[in-house]
């Protein structure tokens, strides 16, 4: 890793000022940025270390749960309020990475983490997402972890975050600063489909994410993650579901998938099919048929569609038991 200027802002405003300058890279838990720098990814000239920013406690404000972006993944997953009211979020976080990484990694860092594609990570492969226009080896040699939804000629890597999948289903919003200006956006707008014109996220340039908010809900929720080994592995397919019902009829369904798409994936039109339905396998299959209508598996990813379908059936059986 090239020697870089390391900055330790003490306040969010200071951090936002620094990040507004060109070439300033935020580093929070350091579980991705530092790995990539060591592997030869270009970084710098300056690292803006967010570890000294003051952190707000988890609290409820204006009908929403407010989570400081600097909280560790573990702190959020273990918070009683999160475990009781947003089990999908707690389950998603705890299914990801390892205990050590979850202790170090922050909420904001998790949302903004880089791709985990083998071609992206090692700079001696071409990769459009790392070096625009260099090409994508996955077109010729798809990887078993690749996405089957939202793939473009630019990139087919699955989005790695478990937590973002749960947050998407929970209608999360992001709050932050660009320089001195506050901004707010739905998480649903955070991840663009891969294209030469889009970055990894749609955050404004130089933005600092300061908080994530979740509208309070009484809905049931859960997260199911399937993968090739029992732990410490990205999802082959995962799903977060948030459900409300009245006398056995679904009144609200938010269902987001992970591990199978280039972004955390929701299909509101398919969710609408579930409204008024009971919890039965046929309704779930109808939802899945529409949600996956544009899926484009290849031989290497042929397992993903049946896994994702199975994951939702499995999760709904658990949530409606």
């Amino acid at each position: 890793m090239a020697a870089t200027d390391w900055r330790w802002p003490q306040t969010a405003a200071e951090a936002a000022d620094l990040l507004a300058q060109p070439g300033h890279q935020a580093v929070a838990g350091g579980t991705t940025v530092l790995d990539l720098a060591r592997l030869g990814h270009v970084s710098g000239p300056a690292m803006v270390d967010l570890s000294r920013l003051p952190r707000e406690e988890i609290r409820v404000q204006e009908g929403a749960l407010l989570l400081d972006a600097g909280l560790s993944n573990t702190a959020v997953a273990r918070a009683p309020l999160v475990q009781q009211r947003f089990p999908a979020l707690s389950e998603a976080i705890l299914s990801g990475a390892s205990g050590q990484i979850r202790n170090a990694a922050t909420l904001g860092g998790n949302l903004l983490q880089a791709l985990r594609c083998a071609y992206f990570r090692d700079p001696s492969w071409p990769c459009n997402r790392r070096d625009a226009g260099s090409g994508c080896p996955a077109i010729e040699a798809p990887l078993p972890g690749d996405a089957i939804l939202g793939i473009t000629a630019h990139c087919r890597a699955a989005h790695p975050s478990d937590m973002a999948v749960a947050l998407l289903a929970l209608d999360a919003r992001l709050h932050g600063l660009v320089g001195a200006r506050r901004f707010e956006m739905p998480l649903a707008d955070l991840y663009p489909l891969p294209s030469p014109d889009a970055g990894l996220t749609a955050l404004p340039r130089g933005a600092l994410v300061t908080a994530i908010s979740l509208p309070l809900t009484t809905a049931r929720s859960g997260y199911e993650k399937l993968r090739g080994r029992a732990s410490y592995e990205f999802a082959a397919a995962s799903v977060a579901a948030v459900l409300e019902s009245d006398r056995g009829r679904i009144t609200r369904a938010a269902i987001a998938f992970g591990g199978i798409a280039t972004t955390p994936w929701r299909t509101p039109a398919a969710e609408a099919l579930l409204l008024g339905q009971g919890y039965d396998a046929r309704a779930t299959d109808d939802f899945l048929d529409l949600a996956f209508a544009t899926a484009a598996p290849v031989e290497a990813t042929a397992h993903k569609l049946p896994l994702a379908r199975g994951a939702l059936h499995h999760l709904l059986q658990r949530l409606t038991k």
């Binding site: 890793m1 090239a2 030869g40 080896p137 990887l143 080994r229 029992a230 049946p306």
Partner: protein, 715 residues
Amino acid sequence: MTRADPPLPRLDALEKVTGRANYAADLQPQGVLQAFALRATRAPARIRSIDCENARAVPGVVAVYTHENAHETGWRADPALDALFAEGLGRSALKDAASQLPAYRPLTSDEVMFAGQWIAIVVAEGIEAARQGLAAVQVNLEDLPPPEPVKIRPGPFFAGDMQHAFTTGHRAGAPRHRVEASYETPVQLHQPLEPSATTAVWQGGRVILRDSTQGTRATRTAVAASLGVAEENVLIHAEYVGGGFGAKNQIWPHQALAAHLSRALQRPVRLQLTRADLGVASGHRSETRQHIRLEADADGRLALLTHHSEIPTSLRGGFFEPCGLSSLMLYAAQRIEVRHEVTRRAIPTPTPFRAPGETPGSFALETALDELAHQAGIDPVELRLRNFAERDLYHNRPWSSNHLAECYARGAARIGWAGRSALPRRHRRDGRLVGLGMATTAYPAPILPASVRVTLRGTGSVLVETSATDIGTGMRSLLAQKVADTLGISPAEIEVQLGRSELPDAPTAGRSKSSASVMPAAGAAARALLQKLGPEERSNLTLAQRLAALGQPHISAEGHSAPRDPQAEHSFYSFGAHFVEVELEEQIGRLRVTRVVSVLDCGTILHPRLAESQIRGGVIFGIGMALMEEGLRHPATGRLISDNLADYAIPVHADVPEIEVDFLNIPDPLMGEDGARGLGEIGLPGLAAAIGNAVFNASGRRIRQTPFPLSALTG
């Protein structure tokens, strides 16, 4: 023999868990330079140009070597050298035109034989400068057409004929049941915890290599030949080795290269393989495609067993996976046909990997036997008993000792085999399908000559010395226990010095032979020491007192073990049976190995704790093989994609169930004074098949490839 009871814990456990054990790359001698390699990204190709000017200009970079200037360090390709290094293993079995081709060594020509080949070495003051230097090398490759695939039918390899068809003398009735199927296993990487590394320091006219190798003597011979210096001027020190599994069995270029670079630059040089280097610069297990045909009579007696393997090797190397070895001798078929076809491809040279041949071979054969058992309606254990080979049919020799039938019986009893349904899909637990499967494992038990020196000091402490390595097997602890028991003293009085090439000769730790070869020498050395101390006049004298009575400050004795007589009248194998329980949630393709019972017949167990640890390790390898391990290659460039531990998954704790290891512990009367056979590999063969057979029993899903595809477990 008496034995320390309870058995010693691992002697070096504390050093290892506290980080005090120094591995090859831990040594940082004064002024050490860091060397790293640049890997070619595609092959076959020719280096049109390689521009190192910018790399040399990076502050801290001391030197950059490519095929254009590496000869300045004395680096050269030479068929005589190839024979001593990893490339040479197996080449004589191939006997094809390519085996007469020029020698292969990286950095000696503009040819790129495989993607990942080292094409430049950057030597720098620090790791960061070396990495920057690597990034600054400009390479221009010209792609070459892939070589015409030529099928080679190799001759004898690993003491087995690779093309052999024979009628055994066993008789089966008319064939009533047939299984004919193909099985595939992928590229697998050894992934030792400690990546290979060599630190070279020249002192006077001698070089000391701090190395991570399974064999210090073989490394010394190869490195000395490469340097063109006498063997006594090369010292190989590998006191701690963080796993090898075969990746450190042969000698690879970096071991000699570190010494060449250090000699040329007159500075200590540390050459460390990165995780990504391991799969291309220290070997791998190649992919295999195997075809099995079994024919059996109405009673399940095998009339025919054919095992045909298609495997690759590199363009210039020799090693190939001898999948059919066990099929030559493990079951008493009326007729046995084993064939191997090797194709040269632009891949790195494969190398032995824990139970080479047997591991992929047993997956195919033991799965096929399960298929036959199901088809014939015969219990899989019973089918194996009916085809039990009373003697080694291939070599036509009796077994030195074979209690396989008892392994089956004990394993079956322990896992509750009697409660297994012969038909699939009959058992559920909490909604999950449950199944039981089993397979046989077997591995040869060779012995090579070894020497050990034992020195009694005036303090009464005893120094035990040998060049043998402890690659995590517990050799250090075994030696201390053996010498302590023979001398009748406490293991606390013993100091073991091993893994140095200047110490008494011992074979490379591989092929499950190290303990069986070294322990008899240790016993002989201890007895020779007692003899030198003279007759015991008063029984209550300590060793120190007896030494003092001789008036000597210290006294040494060497012990030697003999190689096995090549005309030996017996075949020496270890045997065992794995029994596995799995649970499968079909809806989500979630497969869990919930129980493993492994019953082994390895002769006397010298140290139960270490022996169980070895078998558990093998079983975990088998779980990895069955469920997740897969080295992916890019089809166009041939480059290894999953060359790191993020993309090459190995089991984590949550994948590993309780593993019950049960040793028969019946001494092999023909295995020297201890009656112990090796057990380094035998935990692995058969395990993946046993898991697959359990999946079939659970679900009716027959899986003929590893890792088991998720798509085969769901939908």
